[in-house]
Symmetry: C4
Subunit: 194 residues, 4 copies
């Protein structure tokens, strides 16, 4: 089996999960106090931006990783389904932190979801790496990817744990992780195409 | 007509139906009782996982099956529409069982939807098999698929019936069926690529 | 410009509009009266089936029609956007008739939406036919399509008008039109591939 | 990396954002006053049409622009994510203006979203133009696009500012801008294919 429909389906789930985030932002009443009410729900916008960028990063990584495979098998399709089950769940804890960035349980639930997503992403990559690698795959790049995905699991685990003590610390850590992935990914892109 | 747009459209419906499942999970209030309220709605997470995996299985099977066809006709497109009508309906009974895994009528409605989906899936396969098979299709594999899809109809029929007596038994049966399809599909994949 | 992205985008809008229909079905409370409440909201299921099949028909026709074009231009892309604006609106009147199949205004709104869709579909086809036809298009088939799309506009206009007098008559007419298109399309497919 | 998945993903987000607009239209109660209530919420339909056409225009432009690139890099994927973050946000201010076309804050929020989208669209184009242009790109056309996208930023900035003084003026300006883009795009298409 080719990888085409796996990518179409995954892109569909990514696109829908990322676009559903907007319907979790509460609609204040449209009256003379609208300005203040819009400003007062700033945590909802931060949560929207964080989750949008985070899902965007996962999509970019999924995209980058699929280039190393030229076929799929059924077990891989199912690993992909379990991975997407985590991604599609992200709007739920996003809605929780959107209401209150200071709630430890909400922030932990958010981090636990990203942690599970990172674990499944590693399973996805390693299954594919061991069984579906294209014949002409660059083994140095493959080893580099394998190494670079482990710290993400650890980092999201630490950030989720920290959320239980101080919710705001968790939020800052998730944001720093997202910023790190965007910047390092972009710099790496610069080297790649330079 | 080629099969491209049928697959794009079907993948879209699968991706949306599977991603909409998350918006059926109730949002508890974000306050000091959040932890307990999140734990208390565990049936909603079980329902999410069961429906996500079940729709994922249907997608994998649809994917596997389309490989044997290299064209479509209008009647096939309409059979596909009726089949997708069942798939797209799954979020509705999922929301019902998410509220109470012990309600017989909710569990039966869930099973009846999966039963209807299995019936339509057989119609879809058999129509395609009789009219649209590619010239080089492996007839042994084709006969194997035809045989392997019948028991699904029977099994979902029995599970739906059992739900009317004991809702929890129905839930266990649906879960075992999903687990069976994931494991047998994955093992089969092992043989296929080994 | 090729037709690829127009079709991807249109298939996305079709797939989302058709899958959103399920979230318009009200969720009764899950208690001992669930069975009766599920039965009592039968108009919602009829509305779901009618709109699902109707959008499915429009998708099949869009699919069939795009085969005659091998390029697009900007005006065609915008005509497609206005056409999709009608298709994407269908869930709104569907929710209205789902509540009461006997309300004349609801049924007329439903019919007016399908009428507008049929008008835009004709504009879409005729613009494409006059400017973007592929060099090897079968002109007899093209003329056949042109003729066969006009009666749809008239039929939906009449059905919408009849809804203002008797809502149920409107519903029956929309259903007969859908059944006619599914059956005639499928029979035509039989000839096409026979 | 090819541009295929970027386009699939972007088309998915465009298709979902545009189709979600319909669920922001309030559902009046279906009773004997339905006709009046449907008429009374005319601002919701205007907001639906304006946002649908506006997102449609952005999709057409994204489509036109991608023709000049034949590869992507990671930074470009992330710029695309930030651009789509603005597009996917559009349903939120649409729901605000749908309730009251005369509220200055609502209309300004709408315009600020379109302004941000226009800014990101320019970043997207200029990043791609400087780094990812295909070898055979028509430089006169490229310069024409670069020039033609700047005024959009200015125009949406002015329209958003005007909304703060008179909400209705903002609405008229957004509508004129949409009409201008549809008409000029279509005329340009006429020249292109004529």
């Amino acid at each position: 089996m080719g990888t085409g429909r796996l990518e179409t389906f995954a892109d569909g789930v990514f696109a829908i999960a990322i676009t559903l985030l907007v319907i979790e932002i509460p609609h204040p009443e449209v009256d003379e106090h609208l300005g203040r009410e819009l400003v007062d729900q700033w945590p909802a916008y931060l949560a929207y931006v964080l989750s949008f960028v985070t899902i965007g990063i996962i999509w970019v990584n999924h995209h980058a990783l699929m280039r190393h495979f030229d076929r799929t098998d059924r077990a891989f399709l199912f690993v992909n389904v379990f991975f997407l089950m985590c991604v599609a769940f992200i709007p739920f804890p996003t809605a929780l932190i959107a209401e209150d960035l200071g709630n430890e349980i909400a922030m932990f639930t958010y981090g636990a979801t990203l942690f599970a997503t990172a674990v499944l992403f590693n399973v996805f990559w390693n299954y594919g790496r061991l069984r579906l690698l294209r014949a002409d795959a660059d083994m140095r790049e493959v080893r580099g990817i394998t190494r670079s995905y482990i710290p993400g699991v650890v980092a999201y685990g630490i950030a989720a744990g920290a959320s239980l003590a101080y919710a705001e610390v968790g939020f800052v850590l998730y944001s720093l992780l997202a910023a790190f992935y965007v910047l390092s990914g972009s710099l790496w892109a610069g080297r790649e195409t330079g």
